[in-house]
Symmetry: C2
Subunit: 260 residues, 2 copies
Protein backbone atom coordinates (compact mmCIF):
# COMPACT_ATOMS: atom_id res chain seq x y z
CA UNK A 1 0.00 0.00 0.00
CA UNK A 2 1.35 3.38 -1.00
CA UNK A 3 0.28 6.35 1.13
CA UNK A 4 1.06 9.98 0.46
CA UNK A 5 0.09 13.10 2.32
CA UNK A 6 1.00 16.75 2.25
CA UNK A 7 2.67 18.33 5.25
CA UNK A 8 0.40 21.00 6.69
CA UNK A 9 1.23 24.10 8.66
CA UNK A 10 4.67 24.87 7.29
CA UNK A 11 5.79 28.46 7.85
CA UNK A 12 7.02 30.40 4.80
CA UNK A 13 10.63 29.57 3.97
CA UNK A 14 13.03 32.47 3.57
CA UNK A 15 16.66 32.90 2.62
CA UNK A 16 19.12 31.32 5.01
CA UNK A 17 16.56 29.07 6.70
CA UNK A 18 17.73 25.64 7.75
CA UNK A 19 15.13 23.66 5.83
CA UNK A 20 15.34 20.64 8.14
CA UNK A 21 14.66 22.89 11.13
CA UNK A 22 11.63 24.39 9.37
CA UNK A 23 10.18 21.09 8.20
CA UNK A 24 10.93 18.73 11.11
CA UNK A 25 8.27 20.05 13.54
CA UNK A 26 5.54 19.78 10.90
CA UNK A 27 6.68 16.28 9.97
CA UNK A 28 6.25 15.22 13.62
CA UNK A 29 2.56 16.19 13.37
CA UNK A 30 1.74 13.80 10.53
CA UNK A 31 -0.87 11.18 11.38
CA UNK A 32 -1.17 7.97 9.38
CA UNK A 33 -4.18 5.69 8.89
CA UNK A 34 -2.77 3.13 11.35
CA UNK A 35 -2.56 5.82 14.02
CA UNK A 36 1.20 6.19 13.85
CA UNK A 37 2.66 9.69 13.68
CA UNK A 38 5.60 11.46 12.14
CA UNK A 39 8.13 10.12 9.68
CA UNK A 40 9.48 6.58 9.77
CA UNK A 41 12.36 4.69 8.20
CA UNK A 42 11.39 3.80 4.64
CA UNK A 43 9.34 6.96 4.11
CA UNK A 44 10.26 9.46 1.42
CA UNK A 45 10.09 13.19 2.14
CA UNK A 46 9.32 15.05 -1.09
CA UNK A 47 10.12 18.77 -1.23
CA UNK A 48 9.43 21.29 -3.97
CA UNK A 49 12.63 22.84 -5.25
CA UNK A 50 11.07 26.25 -4.73
CA UNK A 51 11.41 26.13 -0.95
CA UNK A 52 14.84 24.53 -1.21
CA UNK A 53 15.99 27.34 -3.51
CA UNK A 54 14.47 29.99 -1.24
CA UNK A 55 16.29 28.58 1.78
CA UNK A 56 19.49 28.50 -0.27
CA UNK A 57 19.17 32.20 -1.18
CA UNK A 58 18.72 31.57 -4.90
CA UNK A 59 16.56 34.69 -5.40
CA UNK A 60 18.01 37.12 -7.93
CA UNK A 61 16.94 40.54 -9.17
CA UNK A 62 14.60 40.44 -12.18
CA UNK A 63 13.09 43.91 -12.34
CA UNK A 64 13.33 44.07 -16.13
CA UNK A 65 13.09 41.57 -18.96
CA UNK A 66 16.84 42.03 -19.46
CA UNK A 67 17.58 41.09 -15.86
CA UNK A 68 15.32 38.05 -16.15
CA UNK A 69 16.98 36.98 -19.40
CA UNK A 70 20.41 37.42 -17.83
CA UNK A 71 19.34 35.20 -14.93
CA UNK A 72 18.17 32.54 -17.39
CA UNK A 73 21.38 32.87 -19.43
CA UNK A 74 23.42 32.34 -16.25
CA UNK A 75 21.65 28.98 -15.82
CA UNK A 76 22.00 27.90 -19.45
CA UNK A 77 24.74 25.60 -20.67
CA UNK A 78 23.04 24.71 -23.99
CA UNK A 79 20.00 25.91 -25.89
CA UNK A 80 17.97 22.86 -26.92
CA UNK A 81 15.16 24.69 -28.73
CA UNK A 82 13.77 28.16 -29.01
CA UNK A 83 10.68 29.78 -30.42
CA UNK A 84 9.49 33.40 -30.46
CA UNK A 85 6.54 34.17 -28.19
CA UNK A 86 3.68 36.43 -29.29
CA UNK A 87 4.83 39.12 -26.81
CA UNK A 88 8.22 39.45 -28.53
CA UNK A 89 10.15 37.46 -25.95
CA UNK A 90 11.66 34.08 -26.77
CA UNK A 91 10.74 30.75 -25.23
CA UNK A 92 13.95 28.84 -24.70
CA UNK A 93 14.20 25.20 -23.74
CA UNK A 94 17.70 24.87 -22.35
CA UNK A 95 19.95 22.53 -20.50
CA UNK A 96 20.97 23.76 -17.06
CA UNK A 97 24.24 23.22 -15.18
CA UNK A 98 22.38 20.49 -13.22
CA UNK A 99 21.90 18.61 -16.51
CA UNK A 100 18.16 19.30 -16.63
CA UNK A 101 16.36 20.33 -19.81
CA UNK A 102 13.74 22.93 -18.94
CA UNK A 103 11.95 26.00 -20.21
CA UNK A 104 13.70 29.17 -19.03
CA UNK A 105 16.34 27.05 -17.25
CA UNK A 106 13.87 26.44 -14.44
CA UNK A 107 14.06 30.10 -13.41
CA UNK A 108 10.81 30.78 -11.57
CA UNK A 109 9.01 34.11 -11.35
CA UNK A 110 5.88 32.91 -9.55
CA UNK A 111 5.38 33.07 -5.81
CA UNK A 112 8.48 35.19 -5.33
CA UNK A 113 8.62 38.92 -4.50
CA UNK A 114 7.89 41.23 -7.43
CA UNK A 115 11.09 42.11 -9.28
CA UNK A 116 12.85 38.89 -8.36
CA UNK A 117 13.21 35.41 -9.81
CA UNK A 118 14.26 32.16 -8.26
CA UNK A 119 17.04 29.99 -9.67
CA UNK A 120 17.02 26.23 -9.18
CA UNK A 121 19.11 24.92 -6.28
CA UNK A 122 22.72 24.82 -7.40
CA UNK A 123 23.14 21.13 -6.54
CA UNK A 124 19.74 19.62 -5.74
CA UNK A 125 21.25 16.24 -4.84
CA UNK A 126 23.43 17.94 -2.24
CA UNK A 127 20.31 19.83 -1.06
CA UNK A 128 18.56 16.48 -0.63
CA UNK A 129 21.50 14.98 1.24
CA UNK A 130 21.70 17.99 3.54
CA UNK A 131 17.99 17.84 4.30
CA UNK A 132 18.28 14.11 4.97
CA UNK A 133 21.13 14.67 7.44
CA UNK A 134 19.20 17.47 9.11
CA UNK A 135 16.07 15.36 9.47
CA UNK A 136 18.13 12.50 10.88
CA UNK A 137 19.66 14.85 13.44
CA UNK A 138 16.27 16.22 14.47
CA UNK A 139 13.98 13.22 14.14
CA UNK A 140 16.30 10.25 14.53
CA UNK A 141 15.13 8.69 11.26
CA UNK A 142 16.67 8.78 7.81
CA UNK A 143 13.83 8.98 5.30
CA UNK A 144 14.60 9.14 1.62
CA UNK A 145 14.47 12.69 0.26
CA UNK A 146 13.35 13.82 -3.20
CA UNK A 147 13.57 17.42 -4.43
CA UNK A 148 11.05 18.10 -7.19
CA UNK A 149 10.42 20.61 -9.90
CA UNK A 150 7.56 21.04 -12.35
CA UNK A 151 8.26 20.65 -16.05
CA UNK A 152 6.59 20.66 -19.41
CA UNK A 153 7.14 17.59 -21.57
CA UNK A 154 7.56 17.29 -25.32
CA UNK A 155 4.44 15.91 -27.01
CA UNK A 156 2.35 16.05 -23.83
CA UNK A 157 -0.01 18.74 -22.66
CA UNK A 158 0.20 19.87 -19.06
CA UNK A 159 3.08 19.86 -16.65
CA UNK A 160 4.19 17.19 -14.20
CA UNK A 161 6.62 16.97 -11.33
CA UNK A 162 9.96 15.23 -11.70
CA UNK A 163 12.85 14.53 -9.34
CA UNK A 164 15.74 16.95 -9.67
CA UNK A 165 17.45 15.93 -6.43
CA UNK A 166 17.44 12.78 -4.33
CA UNK A 167 19.16 11.19 -1.36
CA UNK A 168 18.62 7.67 -0.10
CA UNK A 169 16.21 6.84 -2.90
CA UNK A 170 16.54 4.35 -5.76
CA UNK A 171 16.05 6.87 -8.55
CA UNK A 172 16.34 4.30 -11.34
CA UNK A 173 14.74 0.98 -10.50
CA UNK A 174 16.61 -1.61 -12.51
CA UNK A 175 14.57 -4.56 -13.71
CA UNK A 176 17.16 -5.76 -16.21
CA UNK A 177 17.52 -9.49 -16.26
CA UNK A 178 13.94 -10.01 -15.07
CA UNK A 179 11.89 -12.12 -17.41
CA UNK A 180 8.37 -11.98 -18.66
CA UNK A 181 5.85 -14.80 -18.36
CA UNK A 182 7.31 -16.35 -21.51
CA UNK A 183 10.91 -16.36 -20.28
CA UNK A 184 12.10 -13.42 -22.36
CA UNK A 185 14.03 -10.57 -20.85
CA UNK A 186 11.92 -7.49 -20.16
CA UNK A 187 12.29 -4.62 -22.57
CA UNK A 188 11.19 -1.66 -20.43
CA UNK A 189 13.60 -2.37 -17.69
CA UNK A 190 14.68 0.76 -15.91
CA UNK A 191 11.93 2.67 -14.18
CA UNK A 192 12.44 6.33 -13.29
CA UNK A 193 11.11 5.63 -9.81
CA UNK A 194 12.12 8.99 -8.35
CA UNK A 195 10.18 10.80 -11.07
CA UNK A 196 7.13 8.67 -10.29
CA UNK A 197 7.50 9.45 -6.58
CA UNK A 198 7.65 13.16 -7.46
CA UNK A 199 4.47 12.79 -9.54
CA UNK A 200 2.63 10.90 -6.80
CA UNK A 201 3.59 13.57 -4.26
CA UNK A 202 2.41 16.37 -6.53
CA UNK A 203 -1.09 14.92 -6.42
CA UNK A 204 -1.26 15.67 -2.69
CA UNK A 205 0.97 18.75 -2.54
CA UNK A 206 -0.83 20.64 -5.27
CA UNK A 207 0.17 24.02 -6.61
CA UNK A 208 -0.04 27.35 -4.83
CA UNK A 209 -1.53 25.76 -1.77
CA UNK A 210 1.39 26.56 0.47
CA UNK A 211 2.07 22.85 0.78
CA UNK A 212 5.51 22.32 -0.74
CA UNK A 213 6.30 19.15 1.21
CA UNK A 214 4.72 15.70 1.16
CA UNK A 215 5.62 12.34 2.62
CA UNK A 216 5.23 9.08 0.70
CA UNK A 217 5.01 5.84 2.67
CA UNK A 218 5.02 2.27 1.41
CA UNK A 219 8.09 2.36 -0.83
CA UNK A 220 10.68 1.15 1.68
CA UNK A 221 12.13 -1.08 -1.05
CA UNK A 222 13.17 2.12 -2.82
CA UNK A 223 14.80 3.74 0.24
CA UNK A 224 18.46 3.06 0.90
CA UNK A 225 20.83 3.59 3.79
CA UNK A 226 23.41 5.17 1.52
CA UNK A 227 22.52 8.49 -0.06
CA UNK A 228 23.33 7.04 -3.49
CA UNK A 229 23.92 8.77 -6.79
CA UNK A 230 21.03 11.19 -6.57
CA UNK A 231 18.71 12.39 -9.29
CA UNK A 232 21.61 13.55 -11.44
CA UNK A 233 21.59 10.11 -13.10
CA UNK A 234 18.05 10.78 -14.40
CA UNK A 235 19.34 13.55 -16.62
CA UNK A 236 20.29 11.84 -19.88
CA UNK A 237 23.67 12.82 -21.20
CA UNK A 238 23.48 14.97 -24.31
CA UNK A 239 25.51 12.42 -26.25
CA UNK A 240 22.87 9.72 -25.72
CA UNK A 241 19.83 11.84 -26.33
CA UNK A 242 17.96 11.41 -29.55
CA UNK A 243 16.60 14.93 -29.09
CA UNK A 244 19.96 16.55 -28.58
CA UNK A 245 19.81 18.22 -31.94
CA UNK A 246 16.26 17.53 -32.90
CA UNK A 247 14.89 15.10 -35.39
CA UNK A 248 15.96 14.01 -38.80
CA UNK A 249 13.03 16.04 -40.11
CA UNK A 250 14.54 19.35 -39.03
CA UNK A 251 17.87 18.34 -40.44
CA UNK A 252 16.29 17.48 -43.78
CA UNK A 253 14.35 20.73 -43.80
CA UNK A 254 17.57 22.66 -43.17
CA UNK A 255 19.24 20.86 -46.07
CA UNK A 256 16.33 21.49 -48.38
CA UNK A 257 16.11 25.18 -47.46
CA UNK A 258 19.82 25.68 -48.01
CA UNK A 259 19.53 24.18 -51.48
CA UNK A 260 16.43 26.19 -52.42
CA UNK B 1 -4.35 11.30 2.01
CA UNK B 2 -3.62 9.45 -1.21
CA UNK B 3 -3.67 5.65 -1.07
CA UNK B 4 -2.74 3.30 -3.87
CA UNK B 5 -2.62 -0.46 -4.00
CA UNK B 6 -2.21 -3.12 -6.63
CA UNK B 7 -5.01 -5.55 -7.29
CA UNK B 8 -3.88 -9.07 -6.45
CA UNK B 9 -5.02 -12.39 -7.81
CA UNK B 10 -6.07 -11.38 -11.30
CA UNK B 11 -6.24 -14.27 -13.76
CA UNK B 12 -4.35 -13.89 -17.05
CA UNK B 13 -6.31 -11.83 -19.57
CA UNK B 14 -6.82 -13.31 -23.01
CA UNK B 15 -8.37 -12.21 -26.27
CA UNK B 16 -12.08 -11.56 -26.12
CA UNK B 17 -12.23 -11.31 -22.31
CA UNK B 18 -14.65 -8.79 -20.85
CA UNK B 19 -12.11 -6.87 -18.79
CA UNK B 20 -14.68 -5.63 -16.28
CA UNK B 21 -15.80 -9.21 -15.65
CA UNK B 22 -12.18 -10.27 -15.08
CA UNK B 23 -11.28 -7.37 -12.81
CA UNK B 24 -14.46 -6.83 -10.77
CA UNK B 25 -14.14 -9.89 -8.48
CA UNK B 26 -10.54 -8.98 -7.57
CA UNK B 27 -11.55 -5.36 -6.94
CA UNK B 28 -14.15 -6.58 -4.42
CA UNK B 29 -11.34 -8.20 -2.40
CA UNK B 30 -9.39 -4.97 -1.84
CA UNK B 31 -9.00 -4.01 1.82
CA UNK B 32 -8.20 -0.43 2.84
CA UNK B 33 -6.50 0.86 6.00
CA UNK B 34 -9.85 1.97 7.46
CA UNK B 35 -11.20 -1.55 7.08
CA UNK B 36 -13.41 -0.78 4.09
CA UNK B 37 -13.31 -3.10 1.14
CA UNK B 38 -13.68 -2.94 -2.62
CA UNK B 39 -13.88 0.12 -4.83
CA UNK B 40 -15.75 3.28 -3.86
CA UNK B 41 -16.98 6.39 -5.63
CA UNK B 42 -14.05 8.75 -6.07
CA UNK B 43 -11.51 5.95 -6.53
CA UNK B 44 -9.52 5.62 -9.73
CA UNK B 45 -8.95 2.19 -11.27
CA UNK B 46 -5.65 2.21 -13.18
CA UNK B 47 -5.10 -0.50 -15.79
CA UNK B 48 -2.02 -1.25 -17.87
CA UNK B 49 -2.78 -0.96 -21.58
CA UNK B 50 -1.25 -4.40 -22.04
CA UNK B 51 -4.20 -6.22 -20.51
CA UNK B 52 -6.66 -3.90 -22.24
CA UNK B 53 -5.03 -4.63 -25.58
CA UNK B 54 -4.97 -8.37 -24.90
CA UNK B 55 -8.67 -8.37 -24.08
CA UNK B 56 -9.29 -6.37 -27.25
CA UNK B 57 -7.47 -8.95 -29.41
CA UNK B 58 -4.68 -6.58 -30.45
CA UNK B 59 -2.10 -9.39 -30.78
CA UNK B 60 -0.60 -9.60 -34.26
CA UNK B 61 1.87 -11.98 -35.88
CA UNK B 62 5.51 -10.93 -35.53
CA UNK B 63 7.49 -14.02 -36.39
CA UNK B 64 10.10 -12.07 -38.35
CA UNK B 65 11.63 -8.62 -38.13
CA UNK B 66 9.68 -7.75 -41.29
CA UNK B 67 6.37 -8.68 -39.67
CA UNK B 68 7.25 -6.69 -36.55
CA UNK B 69 8.22 -3.66 -38.64
CA UNK B 70 4.99 -3.95 -40.61
CA UNK B 71 3.04 -3.98 -37.34
CA UNK B 72 4.87 -0.85 -36.20
CA UNK B 73 4.33 0.82 -39.58
CA UNK B 74 0.60 0.09 -39.32
CA UNK B 75 0.56 2.09 -36.06
CA UNK B 76 2.65 4.99 -37.37
CA UNK B 77 1.16 8.21 -38.66
CA UNK B 78 4.39 10.24 -38.48
CA UNK B 79 8.04 9.48 -37.80
CA UNK B 80 9.29 11.93 -35.18
CA UNK B 81 12.88 10.71 -34.98
CA UNK B 82 14.90 7.69 -35.96
CA UNK B 83 18.31 6.32 -35.26
CA UNK B 84 20.06 3.12 -36.37
CA UNK B 85 20.55 0.53 -33.64
CA UNK B 86 23.80 -1.47 -33.29
CA UNK B 87 21.99 -4.65 -34.42
CA UNK B 88 21.10 -3.12 -37.79
CA UNK B 89 17.47 -2.38 -36.95
CA UNK B 90 16.20 1.18 -36.61
CA UNK B 91 14.83 2.80 -33.46
CA UNK B 92 11.86 4.92 -34.51
CA UNK B 93 10.06 7.39 -32.30
CA UNK B 94 6.72 7.83 -34.00
CA UNK B 95 3.31 9.33 -33.52
CA UNK B 96 0.52 6.77 -33.36
CA UNK B 97 -3.08 7.06 -34.56
CA UNK B 98 -3.99 7.73 -30.89
CA UNK B 99 -1.82 10.88 -31.03
CA UNK B 100 0.86 9.39 -28.78
CA UNK B 101 4.58 9.78 -29.47
CA UNK B 102 6.33 6.53 -28.60
CA UNK B 103 9.21 4.28 -29.52
CA UNK B 104 8.07 1.56 -31.94
CA UNK B 105 4.53 3.00 -31.89
CA UNK B 106 3.96 1.35 -28.53
CA UNK B 107 4.05 -2.09 -30.15
CA UNK B 108 5.01 -4.47 -27.37
CA UNK B 109 6.88 -7.75 -27.75
CA UNK B 110 7.30 -8.58 -24.06
CA UNK B 111 5.00 -10.84 -22.10
CA UNK B 112 3.20 -11.97 -25.25
CA UNK B 113 3.50 -15.36 -26.95
CA UNK B 114 6.66 -15.87 -29.00
CA UNK B 115 6.15 -14.74 -32.60
CA UNK B 116 3.50 -12.17 -31.70
CA UNK B 117 3.42 -8.51 -30.76
CA UNK B 118 0.76 -6.44 -29.07
CA UNK B 119 -0.60 -3.21 -30.54
CA UNK B 120 -1.93 -0.45 -28.28
CA UNK B 121 -5.70 -0.38 -27.77
CA UNK B 122 -7.25 1.24 -30.81
CA UNK B 123 -9.11 3.86 -28.75
CA UNK B 124 -7.86 3.76 -25.14
CA UNK B 125 -10.38 6.38 -24.03
CA UNK B 126 -13.20 4.20 -25.31
CA UNK B 127 -11.54 1.25 -23.56
CA UNK B 128 -11.59 3.25 -20.32
CA UNK B 129 -15.24 4.22 -20.79
CA UNK B 130 -16.21 0.63 -21.51
CA UNK B 131 -14.39 -0.63 -18.41
CA UNK B 132 -16.05 2.09 -16.33
CA UNK B 133 -19.50 1.08 -17.56
CA UNK B 134 -18.71 -2.57 -16.93
CA UNK B 135 -17.51 -1.91 -13.39
CA UNK B 136 -20.60 0.19 -12.70
CA UNK B 137 -22.81 -2.65 -13.90
CA UNK B 138 -20.99 -5.21 -11.74
CA UNK B 139 -20.07 -3.22 -8.63
CA UNK B 140 -22.62 -0.43 -8.55
CA UNK B 141 -19.94 2.27 -8.35
CA UNK B 142 -18.43 4.44 -11.06
CA UNK B 143 -14.75 4.88 -10.28
CA UNK B 144 -12.55 6.91 -12.57
CA UNK B 145 -10.57 4.75 -14.99
CA UNK B 146 -7.08 5.39 -16.35
CA UNK B 147 -5.40 3.20 -18.98
CA UNK B 148 -1.60 3.46 -18.78
CA UNK B 149 1.40 2.74 -20.90
CA UNK B 150 5.12 2.94 -20.20
CA UNK B 151 7.20 5.41 -22.18
CA UNK B 152 10.70 6.75 -22.47
CA UNK B 153 11.08 10.52 -22.24
CA UNK B 154 13.41 12.88 -24.07
CA UNK B 155 16.26 14.07 -21.86
CA UNK B 156 15.39 11.71 -19.00
CA UNK B 157 16.78 8.29 -18.22
CA UNK B 158 14.38 5.53 -17.35
CA UNK B 159 10.78 5.01 -18.30
CA UNK B 160 7.62 6.15 -16.57
CA UNK B 161 3.93 5.43 -16.89
CA UNK B 162 1.57 7.89 -18.52
CA UNK B 163 -2.18 7.94 -19.13
CA UNK B 164 -3.18 6.94 -22.65
CA UNK B 165 -6.86 6.49 -21.86
CA UNK B 166 -9.19 7.90 -19.23
CA UNK B 167 -12.86 8.04 -18.27
CA UNK B 168 -14.33 10.07 -15.45
CA UNK B 169 -10.97 11.59 -14.55
CA UNK B 170 -9.80 15.21 -14.75
CA UNK B 171 -6.82 14.54 -16.99
CA UNK B 172 -5.69 18.17 -17.10
CA UNK B 173 -6.13 19.98 -13.81
CA UNK B 174 -6.59 23.61 -14.67
CA UNK B 175 -5.19 26.09 -12.19
CA UNK B 176 -5.39 29.06 -14.53
CA UNK B 177 -6.60 32.16 -12.82
CA UNK B 178 -5.25 31.00 -9.46
CA UNK B 179 -2.83 33.41 -7.94
CA UNK B 180 0.39 33.05 -6.06
CA UNK B 181 1.06 34.50 -2.62
CA UNK B 182 1.96 37.82 -4.27
CA UNK B 183 -1.25 38.10 -6.27
CA UNK B 184 0.23 37.17 -9.63
CA UNK B 185 -1.35 34.57 -11.84
CA UNK B 186 0.35 31.18 -11.67
CA UNK B 187 2.61 30.26 -14.55
CA UNK B 188 2.60 26.48 -14.36
CA UNK B 189 -1.12 26.20 -14.45
CA UNK B 190 -2.27 23.02 -16.10
CA UNK B 191 -1.23 19.84 -14.36
CA UNK B 192 -1.24 16.56 -16.27
CA UNK B 193 -3.05 14.92 -13.37
CA UNK B 194 -3.86 11.70 -15.22
CA UNK B 195 -0.17 11.18 -16.03
CA UNK B 196 0.67 11.68 -12.36
CA UNK B 197 -2.02 9.16 -11.37
CA UNK B 198 -0.51 6.71 -13.85
CA UNK B 199 2.94 7.27 -12.32
CA UNK B 200 1.68 6.84 -8.76
CA UNK B 201 -0.07 3.60 -9.73
CA UNK B 202 3.07 2.24 -11.41
CA UNK B 203 4.87 2.43 -8.07
CA UNK B 204 2.51 -0.20 -6.67
CA UNK B 205 1.77 -2.18 -9.84
CA UNK B 206 5.36 -2.73 -10.80
CA UNK B 207 6.55 -4.48 -13.92
CA UNK B 208 6.29 -8.17 -14.74
CA UNK B 209 4.68 -8.93 -11.44
CA UNK B 210 1.39 -9.98 -12.94
CA UNK B 211 -0.26 -6.97 -11.30
CA UNK B 212 -1.53 -4.83 -14.17
CA UNK B 213 -4.27 -3.10 -12.17
CA UNK B 214 -4.11 -0.71 -9.22
CA UNK B 215 -6.64 1.45 -7.41
CA UNK B 216 -5.86 4.97 -6.26
CA UNK B 217 -7.97 6.49 -3.47
CA UNK B 218 -8.02 10.03 -2.15
CA UNK B 219 -8.38 11.96 -5.40
CA UNK B 220 -12.17 12.28 -5.47
CA UNK B 221 -11.73 15.91 -6.56
CA UNK B 222 -10.31 14.55 -9.81
CA UNK B 223 -13.12 12.04 -10.45
CA UNK B 224 -16.14 13.21 -12.41
CA UNK B 225 -19.61 11.86 -13.08
CA UNK B 226 -19.25 12.46 -16.80
CA UNK B 227 -16.65 10.41 -18.65
CA UNK B 228 -15.12 13.62 -20.01
CA UNK B 229 -12.68 14.13 -22.85
CA UNK B 230 -10.34 11.32 -21.94
CA UNK B 231 -6.56 11.19 -22.16
CA UNK B 232 -6.61 12.18 -25.83
CA UNK B 233 -6.29 15.82 -24.75
CA UNK B 234 -2.91 15.05 -23.16
CA UNK B 235 -1.43 14.34 -26.58
CA UNK B 236 -0.18 17.69 -27.80
CA UNK B 237 -1.14 18.49 -31.35
CA UNK B 238 1.76 18.37 -33.77
CA UNK B 239 1.16 21.98 -34.74
CA UNK B 240 1.79 23.18 -31.18
CA UNK B 241 4.76 21.02 -30.43
CA UNK B 242 8.17 22.58 -30.31
CA UNK B 243 9.63 19.15 -31.00
CA UNK B 244 7.53 18.44 -34.03
CA UNK B 245 10.47 18.78 -36.34
CA UNK B 246 13.29 18.92 -33.84
CA UNK B 247 15.38 21.81 -32.77
CA UNK B 248 16.89 24.74 -34.55
CA UNK B 249 20.23 23.02 -34.11
CA UNK B 250 19.35 20.14 -36.41
CA UNK B 251 17.93 22.55 -38.92
CA UNK B 252 21.13 24.57 -38.90
CA UNK B 253 23.22 21.44 -39.21
CA UNK B 254 21.19 20.36 -42.23
CA UNK B 255 21.69 23.77 -43.84
CA UNK B 256 25.41 23.71 -43.16
CA UNK B 257 25.83 20.18 -44.49
CA UNK B 258 23.92 21.03 -47.67
CA UNK B 259 26.21 23.96 -48.30
CA UNK B 260 29.41 22.06 -47.60
Amino acid sequence: MLLAQAVEGLPPVTGGDDLAAVVAPALRELVWPDGSTGVAEGDVVVVASKVVAKAERRLVAARTREELEAAIASQTVRVVAERPRPDGSTLRIVQTPQGLVMAAAGVDSSDVPLGTALLLPEDPDESARRLRRGLDARLGVRPGVVVTDTVGRPWREGVADIAIGAAGVVVLQDHRGRRDGYGRELRMTTIAAADEIAAAAELVKGKADGRPVAVVRGLAHLVTTEDGDGARVLARSAAEDLFREGSAEAYARGRADARA
